[in-house]
């Protein structure tokens, strides 16, 4: 399957079928810091991704100074 990663943007080919949890583990990504989107739909950790799926792994961590009073 085609996997799109962001920040920086790059693409990988990963053999499926594979669960979301296993994919993140294979890519050494913390599930707390990303969303996984297959097509246009969010998918949960136990979802099974097949070889024809295009998957985006979207980081959710925003930077900046953080809030100051």
């Amino acid at each position: 399957m085609r996997v799109l990663l962001r920040n920086p943007r790059r693409e990988l080919d990963v053999d499926g079928p594979i669960t979301v949890a296993a994919l993140l583990q294979r890519l050494d990504l913390n599930p707390e810091s990303v969303l996984v989107i297959a097509g246009d739909e969010l998918v949960a950790r136990d979802a099974r991704l097949d070889d024809t799926t295009t998957v985006e792994i979207r980081p959710v961590i925003s930077g900046g100074e953080g809030p100051r009073p």
């Binding site: 962001r6 920040n7 913390n30 599930p31 707390e32 810091s33 990303v34 969303l35 989107i37 739909e41 969010l42 998918v43 949960a44 950790r45 136990d46 979802a47 979207r58 980081p59 959710v60 961590i61 925003s62 930077g63 900046g64 100074e65 953080g66 809030p67 100051r68 009073p69």
Partner: protein, 304 residues
Amino acid sequence: MKCRVCRGPAVIDVRRHNAAFCPDHFVTHCREQVRRAITDHHMIDPEHRIVVAVSGGKDSLALWDLLVGLDYQPDGVYLGLGIGEYSNDSLDHARAYATDRGVTLHEVDLAAEQGFTIPAAAAATHRAPCGACGLSKRHLLNRFALEHHYDTVATGHNLDDEAAVLLGNVLRWETEYLARQHPVLPATTGFARRIKPLVRLGERETAAYCVIRGIDYQVDECPMAAGNRHLHYKDVLNRLEQRSPGSKAAFFHGFLDHAHDRFADHPDGDDTGAHLGRCTECGAPTTTDVCAFCRLRHRATSRP
């Protein structure tokens, strides 16, 4: 994985709640968390005019959408920071949301109104850009609110933001900041009320909310934020969260419940504004003759 509410297929899990949700019930979950934050911290007076500080990112657009979904009627204000294509794209996302949803977006441009950009300020001060960015946002958004008669500025700071800032403040025992780290900063002379209704939602939840609600937000990271300390703290906290779900919420909300009051007697925790003078240039509250923002503007606009 099944939705905790309807037992239909879940699309997202929220481990600190030991729950997973289908799209519809996840939206309900987010609204309930925001409603609870607003109620618990007495954030919003029904008579108040609210303006959301909109960056075009997931948090501020989710906040705007959530407040509208809870039947508030906030407007938005976007502050253009002059960070090249990143700022242009962010503005496009903010405008697209406002147009699609039929809500009012105001725009303030740092370069047009103050004569400098964040990259210019960072270069002039030889300091990390995030400091100049945060200072400019606080100053200009507050001024916008006061000049346009908004009672309250709502910002998209989420649980992850607050937990990371708390970690930084505790590591350095920044008692002044600990005294003032709270989801509500009341209005005082020269300051609009500031609220953070997303403090019960993590940023993974705000991002998921945007995806589910079809909100097209700025996904790319600010090019000037890479490698900063705040991101490092978030990474550390997410490692803790992965091993022990609920750690971030326990840390931040535990601070509010058990420790915040202990710092409230810090002299700089005085939130009445009574100890502040006025900037001789812009009139903003300040402890010095010229406020920090005007000093920044001088440095950023002076020729080398």
